[in-house]
Structure formats: structure tokens, C-alpha cells
């Protein structure tokens, strides 16, 4: 999923609680609910995905967790696909300066 960029869907409210020991992200589908709670790594992945810190979400998660990106890439990308399918993340075209340059 390199080159993808993610944003919060307009119909989803979000509250990130990263002040506690275990990070939690609350996602509320508007206007009726439900509220979906992402804990620990799930929360880190969602926050990293919308952080606009480059197209490689797995690399960002690996850096924040202090692990090798190769170990987690498949898991992260499967979870991102799941979030997109559930309507909790929106996949959008990469920003011009983030687009992969053909070699």
C-alpha cells in the first residue's frame, strides 16, 4: 500500500487519547453511531495513517514501536485495508510530492 494516503472520512468523528499509558482512539460514525474503539497498536496505526508524515504507514508505525518494518508491514497493511473497508479511513490519491516516481 506504498503511495497510498489516508484521511479521516468526513462522516467519522475522532477523539485520540494518547495521554494514558495505552493509547486509545475513539471513532464515532456520524450522526447515529456506533463508537468504535481502537486500542494500543490499532490506535497507533490509525493515528499514523492520518498523520500526513509520508506514504509508508508501516514504516512510521515501526519507527514509533521500535521494531523492524519488515516484521509488521503485512499486518499493518491488512489492518489499513480493513479500516478502509469499514469506512473508518478514507484512501485518497497521494499528494503530488509523495507520488512514487517511476524509475
Amino acid at each position: 500500500m506504498l503511495g497510498a494516503r489516508f484521511v479521516r472520512p468526513p462522516g467519522v468523528a475522532v477523539v485520540v487519547d494518547d495521554a494514558r499509558e495505552r493509547p486509545v482512539t475513539y471513532l464515532g460514525r456520524l450522526p447515529d453511531g456506533p463508537i468504535v474503539v481502537l486500542q494500543d497498536t490499532a490506535s497507533v496505526i490509525w493515528v499514523q495513517a492520518v498523520a500526513d508524515e509520508g506514504p509508508d504507514v508501516a514504516a512510521g508505525v515501526a519507527a514509533s514501536a521500535g521494531v523492524d518494518v519488515a516484521e509488521i508491514r503485512d499486518t499493518v497493511e491488512q489492518f489499513l485495508a480493513h479500516l478502509v473497508a469499514e469506512g473508518l479511513l478514507l484512501r485518497v490519491p497521494p499528494a503530488p510530492d509523495q507520488a512514487e516516481v517511476p524509475t
Binding site: 468523528a13 477523539v15 456520524l30 450522526p31 463508537i35 468504535v36 480493513h82
Partner: protein, 286 residues
């Protein structure tokens, strides 16, 4: 990934603001998020957290907003008439987001409601609540709302300290202009300890009773006196002996029976008679 029941109150309140804004946007309805989680962090008293989502709605949009909210899992808990002595807000509840108070006016503002909303709408901006851009009043207007709210609320005294007494000169000037434009002088003075300057004003007694306390008879007399015209005063006088069925329902946890409504009415009349007799004996103003 779980759907947890134990979502913190602050999270639900933020999402309530976001949900109400989304519904308002979808229907072209104007509203301003006030108090609690919606206020500028620089104005909030330490440890102050909202327990519900308060919105001030353009008066001509109130009826439609209540209708569309009730079509989206919000249920009416108290009506404008039964919600408070000022009849300014209706309370709705949502199974996930919690409570929202829909204000059609704000106590202390005496300018005509639509005109007052227009004045508060000027300078309003958008502030992210739960990631959703929500309309909030200008900073001076937020301060004014907190000050007027402090006149009716013990908690609000802490807001007063943070929002008003520590406000920079440019904000103070903005608040004073709003007080004048919105006809909020008496309530503002009641909150800031200067009420006696307005002893001759029609709403002086109302704010004296509100800030210093008083019995039901005194409260109703002050409300009738503060009414803007004779017709409003007559309507209030007629209601003064009626039982607030919404509050009785909340207190009992179910719909009251006809006998319970009658008993409550008798109890209220008894209390009122007792207050009159007591005030005559003690010479306390009635």
C-alpha cells in the same frame, strides 16, 4: 477493534457536538456551540469539563432542528417550557452521545432572540470538536456566555474567574460591546457583583432571586415582573400553578399517574402558601 460501552463522558460529549453539527450542516441550520467542551481552552477554568453538548440555535431554525434530531435517535427529555424557569433550552438524550441542551435564547440576553443570534453569529468561527469543524462564537461572545451562565451556576463562578477577571483589555472591550448590543446589562451585573446599579430595572428582581436565592412565590413573581409584555406576564402567571410533568417524570423514573400529578400540584400550592405566610411573619420581601 471493539465497540466498547465504557466510552469516557468527555469523548461522548465531543462526539455529541460533532453529531449535532453534522445534522445542522446537512439541513442548512445555523447553530453555535457554547460552554463546556466548545469553549476556547484559554477561557476554561482548570479541570472544567463539559457534561453535555450545549448549542444555541438560530430561533427560526429551532423547530426544524428538534424535529431532525428526534429522527436520529435523539429523544426529548425536557421541553423549553419545562426545562428551566427561563424556558431557554430543551434537553435531548442520545443512547451513545449522551445529552444535548438546545438553546433558543440565553438567559440574561433581552434583545429579540433572532436579532441576538445574528449579533452572536457575527465573528463566529469554526473549531474542531472530535475532528469535526463546529461553529463557535467569537472569544468575547464566549466570555459573555460564560459570565451570564455564572450568574445561574455555582460551577460557573470558576469560569468567571478564568474567563472574565483575567481577560485581556481587547476582550473586555468586546464583551462590553456585546452586553450593550444584547441588552444583557442586568444579568451581567448580577454575575459580576454589580447588580444594585440596576435596582430600578424590570428584571432586577429576577436576577436577585437567581443569584441570591428565594422561594417559589418570589421566583414566579420576579419572572412575571421581568416579562417583556402583559401577554407574556399573563401566560407566566397561568403556568405558575401548573405541575412540571417532565421533571416529575424524571424524578419518578416513569410517566406520572393523574393522581400523582394532582398530588404534586397540591404540594406546590402548599409550599407556596407556606412561603407567603413565612415571608409575612419574617418581613422578607415577597
Amino acid at each position: 477493534m471493539t465497540e466498547a460501552a465504557a466510552v469516557p463522558l468527555q469523548v461522548r460529549v465531543l462526539m455529541a457536538h460533532a453529531a449535532v453539527q453534522q445534522i445542522a450542516d446537512a439541513h442548512g441550520l445555523d447553530l453555535l456551540h457554547i460552554k463546556g467542551e466548545a469553549i476556547d481552552p484559554a477561557l476554561a477554568a482548570p479541570d472544567r469539563r463539559g457534561t453535555d453538548a450545549d448549542v444555541l440555535v438560530r430561533p427560526s431554525h429551532v423547530h426544524e432542528l428538534l424535529a431532525v434530531l428526534q429522527g436520529r435517535r435523539w429523544s426529548l427529555q425536557t421541553t423549553f417550557r419545562t426545562g428551566s424557569p427561563f424556558e431557554h433550552a430543551a434537553t435531548l438524550a442520545h443512547p451513545l452521545w449522551g445529552y444535548a441542551d438546545v438553546h433558543r435564547t440565553f438567559p440574561g440576553i433581552t434583545a429579540p432572540p433572532e436579532q441576538a443570534f445574528d449579533r452572536l453569529w457575527v465573528g463566529s468561527t469554526r473549531r474542531d470538536l472530535a475532528g469535526v469543524p463546529c461553529s463557535v462564537p467569537s472569544v468575547p461572545a464566549q466570555v459573555l456566555v460564560l459570565v451570564l451562565n455564572a450568574a445561574r451556576s455555582g460551577w460557573g463562578r470558576r469560569d468567571l474567574e478564568a474567563a472574565w477577571w483575567q481577560a485581556p483589555p481587547e476582550v473586555v472591550a468586546g464583551v462590553r460591546a456585546l452586553v450593550r448590543d444584547l441588552g444583557a446589562e442586568v444579568a451581567f451585573a448580577a454575575a459580576t457583583g454589580d447588580l444594585e446599579r440596576y435596582r430600578g430595572r424590570r428584571d432586577y428582581d429576577l436576577w436577585r432571586v437567581t443569584t441570591q436565592g428565594g422561594g417559589r412565590v418570589e421566583e414566579w413573581r420576579a419572572r412575571i415582573k421581568a416579562a417583556p409584555d402583559a401577554r407574556s406576564a399573563l401566560v407566566l402567571a397561568a403556568r405558575s400553578v401548573a405541575v412540571n410533568r417532565d421533571h416529575l417524570t424524571i424524578r419518578l423514573g416513569r410517566e406520572p399517574t393523574r393522581r400523582e400529578v394532582l398530588a404534586e400540584g397540591f404540594s406546590r400550592v402548599s409550599r407556596a402558601v407556606h412561603e407567603v405566610l413565612t415571608s409575612r411573619r419574617t418581613g422578607r420581601p415577597r
